[in-house]
């Protein structure tokens, strides 16, 4: 896939409405994105929150009559609990965060008895970036959840991202493990993890993808850099997925691209039993719309 719009096209082609339960569905961007998806026929919004506050938003007018539901729970914590419960019980397919703090929202998602994270699963975050300067979608992880992923978490990040790539019709994605250099050095412990992971992949211990690292971003995404440096890599400067060593690096990478390179993105929480959309309030309606479309595909992938 080259653009996020192709995700929308594929979501529409599923020919069914994905039920999205929104916790505290009281902000404009979220409602606007849902209204668009609902009008295009691939989403059935279940808006949980204060009926009065939801109805007072202009975007509520845009919702297609009879093709959505509002559950009136004015208390934020109770609304969030109900949204998680509905997804867990199968009354909804996707969970989405509305006008509530990410910490409070994730606390409920992570709750051992009521939440959506299977025992021992690693929670992470993968997003798909559309970049005018790259010839296809680029998936990156982890921009939002794991501050300093260890070896096990890095492998989980790879597996989650590969699954998302598969949902985007990328059959055997090329995964680059990103560092500041392609050299392996004990002075940079992430490069040691990367050496182990790329050898594990070579030995078939990580399946369904081609993995190489350490690589810097140039070597991962630019074939001419490989030639200049004389580095051999099975990724050949054509990465589908970039795994970053820590949250600061990944976060700065995507935000820099949003701001300076006209990037657009769609991302999802990873590791949960059902897709979970967490977007910050500052993200655009457009980004939220793409996230919703992506969640429809990921629901099918499970």
């Amino acid at each position: 896939m080259k653009s996020l719009n192709e995700i929308v096209v594929k979501a529409k082609a599923l020919g069914k409405k994905t039920r999205v339960a929104v916790a505290v569905a009281e902000d404009s961007n979220t409602l606007g994105a849902l209204a668009r998806a609902a009008n295009e026929g691939f989403v059935y919004p279940i808006l949980i929150g204060s009926l009065q506050r939801i109805k007072s938003l202009p975007e509520a007018e845009a919702l297609p009559p009879g093709a959505y539901q509002i559950i009136d729970i004015p208390d934020q914590d109770k609304a969030t609990k109900e949204a998680v419960r509905m997804v867990k019980s199968g009354e909804a397919d996707v969970l989405m965060k509305g006008l509530i703090g990410t910490d409070k929202f994730l606390k409920e998602v992570l709750n051992k008895s009521r939440g959506l994270l299977p025992p021992k699963a690693v929670m992470s975050y993968t997003c798909a970036l559309e970049l005018p300067a790259y010839h296809k979608l680029l998936l990156i992880s982890d921009t939002a959840v794991l501050p300093n992923p260890d070896l096990k978490s890095k492998i989980a990040m790879i597996n989650y991202s590969v699954r998302m790539a598969n949902a985007l019709d990328i059959v055997k994605p090329k995964v680059a493990l990103i560092s500041a250099t392609e050299k392996v050095s004990e002075a940079m412990p992430n490069t040691i993890d990367y050496a182990l992971i790329s050898k594990m992949a070579q030995r078939g211990q990580i399946k369904g993808c081609i993995v190489d690292g350490p690589l810097d971003v140039f070597l991962a995404c630019d074939p001419s850099s490989l030639a200049v440096k004389g580095v051999q890599s099975p990724i050949a400067g054509d990465a589908d997925i970039l795994i970053f060593p820590n949250l600061e690096t990944a976060n700065a990478f995507y935000k820099g691209l949003m701001l300076f390179a006209k990037g657009e993105l769609a991302g999802l929480i990873q590791g949960t039993s059902k897709p979970v959309i967490v977007m910050s309030r500052s993200e655009s309606e457009n980004s939220k719309y793409y996230c919703i479309a992506l969640s429809c595909l990921m629901k099918e992938e499970r």
Binding site: E182, V184, R203, P214
Partner: protein, 300 residues
């Protein structure tokens, strides 16, 4: 010329200028006879450092002509080791050999910070070259004698020594197998983890001049069929020139198995000092001592 049999080392040496061996505390029949064999074979020059009357008595007893050697008189073992090392540093010899003194004293003279043979930061290690009867070429491996549990940095140094020895034996691009408990990359098993890291370092050109693959079980390193059964596609498998062992126990058991159960000939060398150092033990055969001298002469 690629050396595929230990005997071929002699041919190579005969065609070269003779390297000068300095034997420290060479006052016993084992050492003197080994040096004498090499001198009479015309592959080295021998310099014996030790108690001159005792050296001459041993020569007389074994029918050896003392004129085959230069003899430097020193009357005790520690002083002989120090003198031998001093002569190497002065350029009066090309490589060192241990005589009747203890390994401990010999190593101490080499490792001495002021007067020894070590460059700062250098790692001393032991490399064996064996001629297993059931293998189609020589096998170069380490460390079976000096570093008990090498860390990553030491393993990289040992790997480089193995490659250096292989190249000096005429192998253009040596194949190195990194031995581990399994060919799987099991991060919690140090032999597997370090092998994976070293193999990646080689991919990145941080270790040069060789084809390196690991982690590999021992069977996959030396037997192509085992590798095929396990689906391992590496040109190292079944055709390795060099083996890096993860620890001294693994290497030492392999070394002794070759000698005691397989009747294989082998020789060894200490690498990492400014010159190669021969470290034979009294248990070694005459032939093995001669091969070790030849190997050191090739490396010197």
């Amino acid at each position: 010329m690629e050396i595929r049999k230990l005997d071929q080392m002699f041919e190579v040496l005969k065609s070269q200028a003779k390297k000068r061996l300095i034997a420290a505390w060479a006052i016993d029949a084992h050492t003197i006879m080994a040096v004498n064999d090499a001198v009479e074979m015309n592959i080295i020059q021998g310099i014996l450092v030790g108690d001159e009357p005792r050296i001459k008595a041993v020569c007389a007893e074994h029918g050896i002509d003392p004129a085959n050697f230069s003899i430097i008189h020193v009357d005790n073992d520690a002083a002989a080791a120090a003198k031998a090392v001093e002569m190497i540093n002065a350029g009066e010899g090309d490589f060192l050999m241990k005589g009747l003194l203890s390994t401990d004293r010999y190593m101490r003279a080499i490792l001495n910070k002021e007067h020894g043979l070590m460059n700062p930061g250098a790692i001393l290690s032991h490399v064996t070259v064996a001629e297993p009867k059931t293998y189609h070429k020589l096998l170069i491996f380490g460390d079976v004698a000096i570093i008990p549990l090498p860390d990553l940095k030491q393993k990289v140094a040992i790997t480089n020594y193995l490659i250096k020895v292989a190249k000096l034996l005429g192998i253009t691009t040596p194949k190195v197998g990194l031995q581990a408990a399994s060919e799987q990359t099991l991060p919690k098993i140090p032999s597997c983890a370090d092998a994976a890291i070293i193999s990646k370092m080689a991919d990145r050109g941080q270790i040069k001049g060789a084809i390196i693959e690991g982690p590999l079980g021992f069977d996959l390193i030396i037997d192509k069929e085992s590798a095929q059964i396990k689906g391992m596609k590496s040109e190292v498998c079944g055709d390795a020139d060099c083996i890096l062992f993860p620890n001294i126990e693994a290497g030492n058991v392999f070394y002794k198995t070759l000698v005691k159960l397989c009747g294989s000939e082998l020789c060894a060398i200490v690498m990492g000092a400014r010159v190669p150092c021969v470290l034979t033990s009294r248990g070694d055969t005459e032939r093995s001592k001669l091969y070790s001298i030849a190997l050191a002469a090739i490396l010197a």
